[in-house]
Symmetry: C2
């Protein structure tokens, strides 16, 4: 199968981005559909990306004093009911266990859609004194939300995530921790996944059910649609009061603790695919790529080729995540396309002539640039190149984001910009939910956030014309 | 609070082992009960033990070519029904999701009690040719079994585990892989958890629902009761036939694949507690201990003590998992007891006199032996001591196992030995389930396994007197 045929298997990215996306997910064997409606099977190549995200984030969490725990997946119905906004937000999309062990249960259990209620209940049991604070716990687990429309990784009924839940002595400390975790998320997304983030606060309308404030790191996909990368919530005492999470403070008085929660999920795998991919398929940043370098021997049947390729593989795998493609039922051409489709950052081609000359050919997945490298310099050059690719992929995304970020001064202009360009549209805003609803109704866009880095674009709200209080960013979303 | 009072908080291990166990689980803050009946919250100290087990086992798995995946937690009812023995074994203890997203579901989903059915369904979708084999997948996840009697870690309705599921081209390869994974489990339990294992095959009566053969690594607890440490199953084509997992073999003919599955779980945390603990509480083998060394300064208010302790902590934490106890509301005596109860392998005591003399006192948790060590030699000595403790803890367990392993030649004798000694009772056996039922009925013991290392104790079955075919081991179990 030649390149043309091969590429044809993936829908053109400019023609139908949504279909391109699911084609890539399935062809690159990241995930597949299952008999459980709306739930995917994450296959080894997709899961390896998640493991790299976990490893990176978990290390950062632990540097911030986070301790991992595991709490029950089943939440008794009465716990879910305790915080009014929270139950309103989540009850419509939970799954209920009503029978077990051959009997109908007296009380239903929901499968956790998130675990604020479970953590708060346990914190209330354990917390006695200010000396016990802070409690900075996190769990890596599965959650379930019965979404109507699903899409692999982006919106799956079951997904994997980490949910951090912390309680603190003072509101200042809790607020600071909320921000520290947002910084970790920005670090993961920018430095590991090579996607620039927009940091800011969610509006009241968009914030987490039960939160006092929700902060977000927003990302922009190849097609200009936005994707929420991670969120960090400050709860004040919204949960600690109904759940009775209190402690003796330094003055010997009872006080309710201040709480946060924060999460990133397997959605980030979707972000990597959609931020970087192209018509050849996946394009993985080296730091998160399960395979960083693949060796494809050319004229494999010739004497010494397999052996030399294997020798290189053995030497290089000490420092890089390597793959050696010795499949004898595919041509080198097919293999080149196959590994490009799987997004492996560097391909090494080596044939009899190369071996004679003591060289190999390196091909970058991101730019498709080829270079011939002396074998004695191979390891050095791969190191350099992986760093360069990581950096360049970030820069390309940043450039696209700049091109797709516009300013608007009226609702018409927001709509026009989105229709032409998608992307982020910056406007001034009065702060009223009514204007957000209006934008949603007319353009289909949600507010992404009120960026921490504010600009003064005008004096009045682009939607209602009243006095503006903040700059806000709009975008159509995944 | 002095040592006497402190120790009183934990039930005496010889008086009531079951109560001692739950006391230790809760006092050492490994886990706690929750509002979800039969499900525990694994707290940071308990979860850190699990993380160490995961890290060790996952590395070994990957060295054996295992790839991690994640498949749905919800299994449609009709999938569970496909393999007759399997559904009979598991259906009575599953939990059912019958409502979700505000509606009653047309088809119920069970929460996975194990995932043979899900893996088989997906393998049948992906497998085409012998070239796709083997598929060697594993997932680290939660499972649910609606047990009637529960006990933290040992038998919890929800628990964490890894479940490996593999398919192979030939039965020989599958059988070999089943054994390779059993070897990994033996490695984890013996070398990481310092508990000797008894390796063997389960009888038909005790094997996994749907398996062709189940192999096990059995462990013995402090009180002489047995605990199944991990199991590895060979399925032949029992699942691949009903689930249609077939491939074109090298001759171009269709053939059903040969399958295995294997798992270890958070039960192993229970095993560590019950195999090693004593009247002071937990006793953790250094390799799996979340904290390997704790520094407790003495006369902390004296000039330079805190500083010296902190300096040691900073230096040592590069090589060991360290804790520095600077709590100002507890006496050193309380702290000594507290860390002993938490099973930290080595305690460093350092006070003004020690600092003057350039020494510190090391105390081993396993033997309570004290020694004074020059500060310049501290790091070396800790390294040696941790290795020694790991080795000695294994040897102590091995000695107990030897003492608690007896031979019997009649049913009466099996009962007598168990009542006197608990432990393993070796007998000859005819191979009939009827005799197993008899032993269960009379003594309450199950067969542990038919050990790989066979001995010829007699010519006839200890129960029925007919011709013996194998040596078998009996034991009362957790």
């Amino acid at each position: 199968m030649g390149k043309e045929e091969f590429v044809k298997e993936i829908t053109n990215i400019e023609e139908d981005f949504a279909k391109w996306y699911t084609d890539v997910v399935r062809k690159a064997e990241l995930a597949d559909y299952t008999d459980t409606k709306g739930c995917i099977a994450i296959r080894p190549y997709g899961y390896a990306i998640w493991e790299n995200i976990q490893k990176y984030a978990d290390k950062k969490f632990k540097e911030n004093g986070v301790k991992n725990v595991y709490f029950p997946v089943l939440i008794p119905e009465d716990l879910l009911q305790k915080e009014k906004d929270h139950v309103e937000g989540f009850a419509p999309e939970v799954a209920w266990v009503t029978e077990a062990g051959g009997e109908k249960l007296e009380e239903r259990y929901c499968i956790r859609p998130t675990s604020e209620t479970m953590f708060s209940t346990l914190y209330s049991k354990w917390l006695k004194s200010w000396r016990d604070l802070p409690m900075i716990y996190n769990q890596w687990c599965n959650v379930l939300r019965w979404e109507k429309e699903t899409r692999p990784f982006l919106r799956s009924r079951e997904f994997l995530w980490q949910e951090g839940h912390t309680i603190h002595e003072t509101s200042e400390e809790a607020k600071k921790f909320t921000m520290d975790m947002l910084d970790v998320y920005a670090d993961v997304i920018e430095n590991l996944l090579a996607i620039p983030v927009l940091k800011g606060q969610k509006t009241k309308k968009e914030q987490f059910a039960g939160a006092d404030a929700t902060y977000t790191v927003e990302t922009l996909m190849h097609d200009g649609r936005a994707l929420q990368g991670g969120t960090s919530h400050y709860f004040a005492q919204n949960f600690t009061k109904p759940f009775d999470v209190k402690f003796q403070n330094r003055e010997g008085k009872e006080e309710y603790a201040y709480q946060t929660s924060w999460g990133i999920s397997t959605r980030l795998i979707g972000a990597v695919i959609m931020a970087h991919g192209d018509n050849r398929g996946l394009k993985l940043p080296p730091k998160v790529a399960p395979i960083q370098v693949v060796i494809v021997p050319v004229a494999m049947q010739k004497a010494g080729v397999k052996e030399k390729a294997t020798e290189l593989y053995e030497a290089l795998k000490k420092n890089f995540r390597m793959e050696l493609d010795l499949r004898d039922n595919y041509t080198p051409g097919f293999k080149f396309n196959d590994w490009e489709m799987r997004g492996v950052p560097i391909r090494i081609e080596i044939g009899p002539r190369d071996i004679e000359n003591g060289v190999a050919v390196l091909v970058r997945r991101d730019t498709l640039e080829k270079e011939t490298v002396e074998l004695s310099n191979l390891e050095n050059r791969i190191s350099e190149l992986l760093e360069q690719i990581q950096k360049d992929m970030y820069e390309v995304c940043l450039k696209i984001r700049k091109e797709k970020t516009t300013v608007a001064y009226s609702l018409d202009e927001i709509l026009k910009n989105l229709n032409e360009n998608q992307g982020y549209v910056k406007t001034m805003w009065c702060g009223e939910t009514e204007c957000e609803n209006k934008v949603k109704e007319v353009t289909g866009a949600h507010s992404r956030c009120i960026p921490f880095e504010q600009e003064h674009l005008a004096d009045t709200c682009a939607i209602c014309g009243k006095k503006a209080t903040k700059m806000i960013v709009w975008g159509r979303q995944y």
